[in-house]
């Protein structure tokens, strides 16, 4: 055996390399089948950052398809409900520059919920079919109502209503919507206390 190797060094080296290549190739091939990732993990990560309103304002039928589109290279600034915060988070994840929200797809609004004016509802079930998260309760010729806790404020039920009895109202009002705000930054200006007192 040793004699054979010393006699044909070139052939031996080639054989050894070939054998190594086959072994590792086999290993890699096995691993790629065995440990194949299901779906697109990047799209999943993006999807968790999106607000899940399922409103379709981005032009895709729901948040998941938009996440997939972003993973495939679409712009990250098409989500008005998420606003600048979501854009920043996406930019952070994808390591790209954050951009301002694309106004073509809508503007950032305060969180809202749908409200059915129940006296006017005729029970047509059109809004129930439109709701992407099954947050409207009712049956044919029965009054419908919105489960406010589950409503994402996507607007999709407003358009189909034949009697225009659905309003979008702020999710929280009054004291419940109030929270402490950051102190206004006065560090650089107005440093002399007596200046401010005179005002």
């Amino acid at each position: 055996m040793l004699a054979l190797i010393t006699d044909h060094p070139l052939l031996t080296a080639l054989t050894a390399l070939l054998a190594l290549g086959l072994v590792f190739g086999g290993l890699l091939g096995f691993a790629s089948v065995k440990f194949r990732t299901e779906g697109n993990p990047l799209a999943d990560q993006i999807n968790t950052l999106l607000p899940q309103t399922q409103c379709g304002q981005c032009g895709y039928p729901g948040c998941r398809p938009y996440a997939q589109a972003i993973a495939d290279g679409d712009a990250i600034n098409k989500c008005p409900p998420g606003g600048q915060e979501t854009i920043d988070a996406l930019a952070n994840l994808l390591d790209v520059e954050p951009e301002p929200l694309d106004a073509e797809h809508g503007i950032e609004k305060e969180p809202r919920v749908a409200f059915v004016r129940e006296d006017e509802c005729i029970g047509c079930t059109k809004c129930i079919q439109a709701c992407p998260v099954d947050a409207i309760l009712g049956a044919a010729k029965q009054m419908h109502t919105v489960i406010a806790d589950e409503c994402t404020g996507c607007d999709l039920c407003v358009e189909p209503c034949p009697v225009d009895c659905i309003d979008m109202i702020p999710r929280r009002t009054g004291i419940a919507s109030w929270s402490w705000s950051m102190p206004s930054s006065t560090e650089s200006s107005n440093i002399i206390a007596t200046d401010r007192e005179a005002a």
Partner: protein, 515 residues
């Protein structure tokens, strides 16, 4: 004698407690209107059960508690409900909230109340229900519903009850006064709470700047003889020793774990006022309708402690204590460290109103504008929760929520010691409060998004399944029709007729072709 432990940090602001003559109580009398907010506590607002125009008696239930964390509202005197609507309430936002307005008839006629004859014979659950029905929420700080707090007994073994008579915040003397005038009631209430909790030890913590209250409490505890391990403990005055977690460490040396509750180390804290309210609810069957409020500050001619019916407008109390507003007059609900400014005196006294402070401009000037942080580190020395206020400040400014949570922002008790020592007068606590609410909101949004996603996916799946089922049905129908057609081909007269007609037509065509 137990050992008194020291806590990290703390400050010694001017106490100014003598101003309001602790130990003396005046009655605030009946105002022309009582305003009772439905939300005087942490948790869900109460649900009104009276209508406008109803005549009610004192002690009658006006609004019942909703859900696990909520407290009921009762009429503090007899009179007529004149409105249920939006009124300004004591809240840092200065916004309005739903209130029940009651115009007293002057008779102050009570409903018949019946207490529990022997509370020791009752089950803890029954007593907790009595406390819930009496609408009691913590009278010291945040106003957590007491019944809910006592339910901690179901989760952890509680061995110690601490009655928090620290009252470490400057100016306030309501608890000091209560301990001087109602020590027996406090002790009686504490015994009831300890019975409910199954706690064998009761510790009364009183700062050493209240010698009269300390004496009164010691006398009251000694008077009840040997009923178990009871001790009135005095410890050096320092702000904020009255913080729940701080007091527990001072009295027992135990530290409440980060993010945990005192119940996790077998301890429950209650305010002396809450103890009295529990005693009144169990022994007399009376709901919580009044409390002691300190009216103090140098803009008042006669600062004092008042026994006040809940819902009494603060303007009524200011008039009683000879208020002369100066220029740039501020009104503060609570103390100078943790209180908040009121925009109007029209707001009512609520269950958590321990003090109304009306300082002159010279006494408590508005803080000068904030300057740049010079990294002196005084705030870290002052922090009673051993946090790093400076780091938290940078992260709050950078909105770095991950780092804020890593640096235990949620262990901050918002005592204001860091802001008080800050040589650059940076409003640190406001940064922390804002950062906390942003993080809480972000968490809620995340939960909401997860739920929406699950519902969306469930719906998507259902829609697809229905479509598949429809398709399958259609295919089945088509198949059945085809089969029927095939099998019926021979016998079906219609088909046969059509076939004959076709054949005839074809033959005609053929014959035409031939010709």
């Amino acid at each position: 004698m137990r050992t008194v432990y020291a806590i990290h940090g703390g400050i010694h602001p001017p106490e100014e407690k003598h101003l309001s003559h602790p130990g003396k109580v005046l009655d605030a009398g009946l105002p022309s209107e009582l305003i009772l907010p439905l939300s005087q506590h942490i948790g869900a607002p109460a649900e009104p059960i009276v209508n406008v125009g109803d005549k009610v008696k004192a002690g009658q239930l006006l609004a019942e508690s909703q859900g696990a964390v909520s407290a009921a509202v009762h009429a503090p005197t007899s009179g007529t409900v004149t409105a249920i609507g939006m009124r300004p309430v004591p809240h840092p936002s200065g916004l309005e909230n739903t209130c029940i307005c009651l115009v007293p008839d002057g008779a102050d006629e009570w409903i018949t109340t019946r207490g529990v004859e022997d509370y020791r014979a009752e089950s803890p659950q029954t007593l907790i229900q009595h406390i819930r029905d009496a609408g009691i929420s913590g009278l010291g700080g945040a106003g957590f519903p007491t019944a809910t707090k006592l339910l901690a007994r179901d989760r952890c073994a509680i061995d110690t009850l601490i009655i928090n008579g620290t009252e470490c915040e400057p100016y306030i003397t309501a608890d000091d006064t209560l301990m001087q005038v109602a020590a027996e009631q406090i002790v009686a209430g504490a015994e009831i709470i300890a019975h409910i909790l199954g706690a064998s030890i009761i510790l009364y913590g009183v700062e050493d700047n209240k010698p009269d209250a300390l004496k009164a409490m010691q006398a009251a505890v000694a008077a009840q003889g040997d009923v178990g391990d009871r001790e009135v403990m005095s410890f050096p005055t320092k702000y904020p020793s009255g913080g729940e977690k701080q007091l527990i460490e001072i009295l027992t040396g135990k530290q409440v774990p980060s993010g945990g509750l005192p119940a996790d180390v077998g301890i429950v804290c209650q305010n002396p006022g809450t103890a009295v309210a529990v005693r009144d609810a169990i022994i007399d069957g009376k709901p919580l309708t009044e409390r002691l409020v300190t009216l103090t500050g140098r803009a008042l001619g006669k600062p004092c402690n008042y026994r006040v019916r809940l819902g009494t407008p603060i303007s009524h109390l200011l008039a009683l204590s000879a208020f002369t507003p100066g220029s740039k007059q501020r009104l503060i609900h609570g103390g100078p460290m943790m209180g908040f400014a009121l925009e109007t005196g029209a707001v009512p006294v609520i269950k958590t109103t321990n003090c109304v402070l009306a300082p002159t401009h010279e006494e408590l000037p508005a803080p000068p504008p904030a300057q740049a942080c010079i990294r002196c580190g005084l705030c870290a020395e002052a922090c009673p929760a051993s946090l790093l206020p400076q780091q938290l400040y940078w992260y709050a400014k950078a909105k770095d929520q991950e780092q804020l949570e890593k640096h235990n922002l949620f262990d901050c008790i918002e005592c204001g010691a860091c802001s008080w020592v800050c040589p650059s007068t940076i409003p640190l606590v406001q940064y922390y409060r804002a950062a906390k609410s942003t993080i809480v909101e972000a968490r809620q949004d995340k939960q909401r998004a997860e739920r929406s996603q699950a519902r969306f996916e469930a719906r998507q799946e259902r829609v697809e399944r229905e479509a598949r089922e429809r398709e399958a049905k259609r295919a089945a129908r088509k198949l059945a029709a085809q089969k029927k057609a095939e099998s019926a081909d021979a016998e079906d007269p219609v088909q046969a007729a059509i076939a004959r007609a076709k054949a005839r037509k074809e033959s005609v065509v053929k014959s035409e072709d031939v010709s």
